[in-house]
């Protein structure tokens, strides 16, 4: 016990100053703790220090402060908002729109993503609140947007049709099909509509909610309609319809009411709708005009229409004028046609052009191909033997080939056809070549025949006159006897190259073709008969072996005795002339034969009857025993 007491005393003695210090420290610590736990006291303490730190603008210190404060900022804002929402709203309001703008400028995509749900929600809310105002705001835009979309769609359709037009070649049906596709109306109805028109009997601009008539225009030519009753009824019907026919949460619009031959066509805007009483089938041009009218009314300044209170005098003058224009317009099929003319004409023109161009193209192509084949085939034939096939002509008509012209013989005929077949295997070959089995040209034939005639003429009793007439060989003259006559005929008929042979050869006697004609009641030779006489003299000289009978004739007029004397006198006169020309008198026999010469085929003409004719006779009668 004593020991422990002493130890205590010793400890007190040794540690007393430290204990005192420790107790002092404890007190001071408690004071500091209290100071720190009281924010106000603490703030007072550190304020000057913070101010000094911030004043120094030391980056390290700023960063440290920022790090310390940042996690608290959102909480601070939230807490402050909870405490006093209004104050916070006012504090942020001046910068909020600017902040959105900056946000959009810096990161447009992110901003758009952030805003998108808000925008659609805002529009929905705005539509819920002020549906009519919203419709009016959008009406001009939506109308033209739809028009633009439609016109683009139509352009695409037209383009597609362009590509296919060649495979459908019926003008009327194509145009109708096209229109049918564009409009979605059956072809039959389009056909019917083409002959239709429509007339606007009246137009009423009606306040949507009250059903009161804001403005109206009626066609003076038709019985007037009571605007107030009609608009009221229409509004009631429209309201009932729109309420009963909602689709989801969107009301559906009644756009047309038909009765008898008339229709009431409705075009609805935000605060009003336009009702047009139409006779006939509403055409596209009419509907377009109706929409234009509504669009224009919607865009008129002022709110007298939106907040119509029954006073028509406050409505802008423009409104009734627009309605009047709508009523006075003409919306017939002619109008439709006029607007579509460029299309129609283009289509019709294109189809017509194709209808001409395609067959023409095919024809020209085939023609060119045919000519090319002709040239190729002919060249091939000529290459084989240019001389023999010089006169070969090749004609090609589609898949038929014809060979024209002449070849010398059957062999060449066959070869030409075979060569043609080799160069156009597909073609059907028609060989129209003619064969000249003797290589004789007409002039050659004539020469040959004349040469033969000349040779035969050297025989006594033979006189031959050889002529080539249109390719026909004609030989006439005198033969000494029937056997010789036959041989002579055979010789000429078998001459190579002779197409046809006519024989005028006789035996015994042969009448010379030339006759001498006399004037009426005269035996005098006329100057014009000199050539004939010369010819007779030549023949007589060439046939010294023959006798020449001169026969005088007369016409049938006058007395027989006189005619006898004339006939004989004419023959005697010619005899004298021939003798004077050197013909031996003993070769000449003279006869008078009153009346015309015995020509069965000749017409009996008096001027021709007054003549003298000549017969070569062999053997001579005087030679006969």
């Amino acid at each position: 016990m004593a020991a422990s007491s002493e130890l205590q005393q010793l400890r007190d003695l040794l540690l007393a100053p430290e204990v005192i210090t420790l107790q002092t420290l404890k007190r001071e610590l408690a004071a500091v703790q209290q100071l720190v736990q009281d924010p106000e006291q603490f703030a007072k303490l550190i304020d000057p220090i913070l101010a000094e730190l911030i004043r120094r603008e030391d980056p390290a210190v700023s960063l440290a402060i920022l790090k310390a404060v940042t996690p608290l900022l959102d909480r601070a804002v939230r807490d402050k908002t909870d405490q006093d929402r209004s104050a916070m709203t006012h504090a942020l309001a001046p910068v909020s729109t600017g902040a959105i703008a900056v946000h959009y400028a810096e990161t447009p995509e992110s901003a758009a993503q952030d805003m998108a749900p808000l925008v659609s929600a805002a529009i929905k809310e705005q539509i819920r609140r002020e549906r009519d105002a919203f419709i009016d705001a959008l009406y001009p835009v939506i109308g033209s947007t739809i028009s633009k979309y439609l016109s683009e769609t139509m352009n695409m359709l037209v383009q597609r049709m362009n590509e296919r037009i060649e495979s459908h070649l019926s003008l009327g049906s194509i145009v109708r099909k096209l229109r049918s596709r564009i409009t979605g109306v059956s072809e039959a109805e389009l056909l019917m509509r083409d002959s239709l028109w429509c007339r606007v009997d009246a137009a009423f601009l009606i306040h949507k909610s009250s059903g009161l008539v804001i403005a109206q225009s009626q066609n003076p030519g038709v019985p007037p309609l009571d605007p107030d009753l009609l608009s009221g009824m229409l509004t009631a019907i429209r309201s009932l319809f729109n309420e009963s026919m909602t689709e989801g949460d969107r009301p559906r619009e009644l756009d047309q009411i038909a009765y008898g031959e008339s229709k009431i066509v409705l075009e609805v805007a935000g605060f009003f709708y336009l009702a047009a009483v139409v006779r006939g089938v509403p055409t596209d041009s009419f509907r377009s005009k109706l929409r234009e009218t509504v669009s224009e009314i919607v865009q008129l300044p002022g709110e007298t229409i939106a907040h119509f209170e029954g006073d028509q005098a406050r409505i802008p003058d423009r409104v009734p004028r627009l309605l009047q224009e709508l009523v006075q317009g003409t919306y017939g099929s002619a109008d439709r046609t006029k607007r579509r003319t460029p299309y129609g004409v283009l289509w019709a023109g294109a189809i017509l052009l194709l209808a001409i161009a395609i067959p023409l193209g095919i024809y020209l192509y085939r023609n060119a191909a045919d000519r090319e084949l002709e040239t190729r085939t002919r060249d091939a034939i000529l290459a084989a033997d240019s001389l023999s096939f010089k006169q070969v002509v090749v004609r090609v008509d589609r898949d038929r080939m014809q060979l024209y012209g002449t070849v010398s013989n059957d062999h060449q005929w066959t070869v030409a056809a075979r060569l043609a077949g080799l160069h156009s295997p597909a073609a059907e070959i028609e060989n129209r070549l003619t064969t000249l089995n003797a290589p004789l040209l007409p002039v050659l034939l004539k020469g040959q025949a004349e040469a033969i005639g000349a040779t035969l003429n050297t025989i006594e009793g033979v006189y031959l006159d050889v002529r080539l007439h249109n390719g026909d060989l004609v030989v006439s003259g005198l033969a000494p006897d029937a056997v010789t006559l036959h041989r002579i005929e055979q010789t000429f008929a078998n001459l190579p190259g002779v197409r046809s042979f006519r024989s005028g050869i006789t035996h015994g006697e042969f009448e010379i073709a030339d006759r001498l004609l006399f004037a009426h009641n005269s035996t005098m030779l006329r100057p014009g008969t000199r050539a004939g006489l010369e010819q007779v003299k030549t023949i007589a000289q060439r046939t010294p072996w023959s006798a020449l009978r001169i026969i005088g004739h007369s016409d049938l007029t006058g007395e027989d005795l006189v005619n006898q004397r004339l006939a004989l006198g004419r023959a005697t006169g010619v005899r004298a002339a021939l003798i004077r020309a050197g013909i031996a008198p003993d070769r000449i026999i003279v006869e008078g034969s009153p009346g015309p010469p015995p020509d069965a085929s000749m017409p009996r003409i008096d001027s021709l009857s007054r003549c003298v004719r000549f017969m070569l006779i062999f053997p001579r009668p005087t030679d006969q025993p």
Binding site: H207, K208, S209, S210, G211, L212, V213, D226, D228, L229, S231, G232, M233, A236, I237, S239, L240, N242, E243, E309, G310, D311, Q312, A313
Partner: protein, 178 residues
């Protein structure tokens, strides 16, 4: 000319159509658009509207709304845009009188600035005409007047419509005083 849509409301067979017929004096078709539940008629009213003696024309477009078993079902769209309402009750049937308030409230819901006149119809059937408890009705907002009418005799009919017309004109700013 001022146009004014006026709805005529009331229970079935309180005499709405007869009242209108009496007022309009057969100037309308008798055909009821029963499927839609409404009949439209109109009446032109000349009102001397100002101290200068200017006359103003007021065209009433009267919507006679079919009083069904539950006529409060009448579509709000029918009531829309109306400047005034004539709420009709049959003085001989208390049930129809009790329904008046419902019609007034319904009309004012759709048209908060709309004016209402109350017609206590068929007074000709009563042995003696008691003055209606006016204060009870005129407390309701928008109610201009309450009148005893008889479509049969014509009593009170013109006054009813004229009162409504004057009020509407005053609203529109065409009437300087009443």
């Amino acid at each position: 000319m001022i146009l004014a849509k006026v709805c005529v409301l009331g229970e079935v067979s309180v005499g709405k159509t007869s009242l209108i017929r009496r007022y309009v004096d057969r100037a309308f078709s008798d055909e009821y658009l029963s499927t839609v539940g409404v009949k439209i008629s109109r009446k032109l009213l000349h009102l001397a509207s100002s101290p200068t003696g200017n006359e103003t024309d007021l065209q009433f477009v009267l919507w006679d709304l079919e009083g069904g078993r539950n006529s409060l079902d009448i579509s709000a769209t029918y009531l829309k845009g109306a400047r005034g309402a004539i709420v009709v009750g049959d003085v001989t049937r208390s049930s129809t009188m009790e329904g008046l308030q419902g019609h007034i409230v319904r009309f004012r819901d759709v048209n908060p600035t709309g004016r209402v006149v109350i017609a206590l119809n068929k007074v000709d059937l009563l042995a003696e005409v008691n003055e209606p408890p006016a204060d009870h009705w005129t407390d309701s907002p928008g109610v201009l007047a309450l009148m005893s009418t008889s479509a049969k005799t014509g009593s009170g009919v013109d006054e009813l419509f004229t009162a409504l017309g004057m009020s509407i004109l005053q609203d529109t700013g065409h009437a300087s005083d009443l």
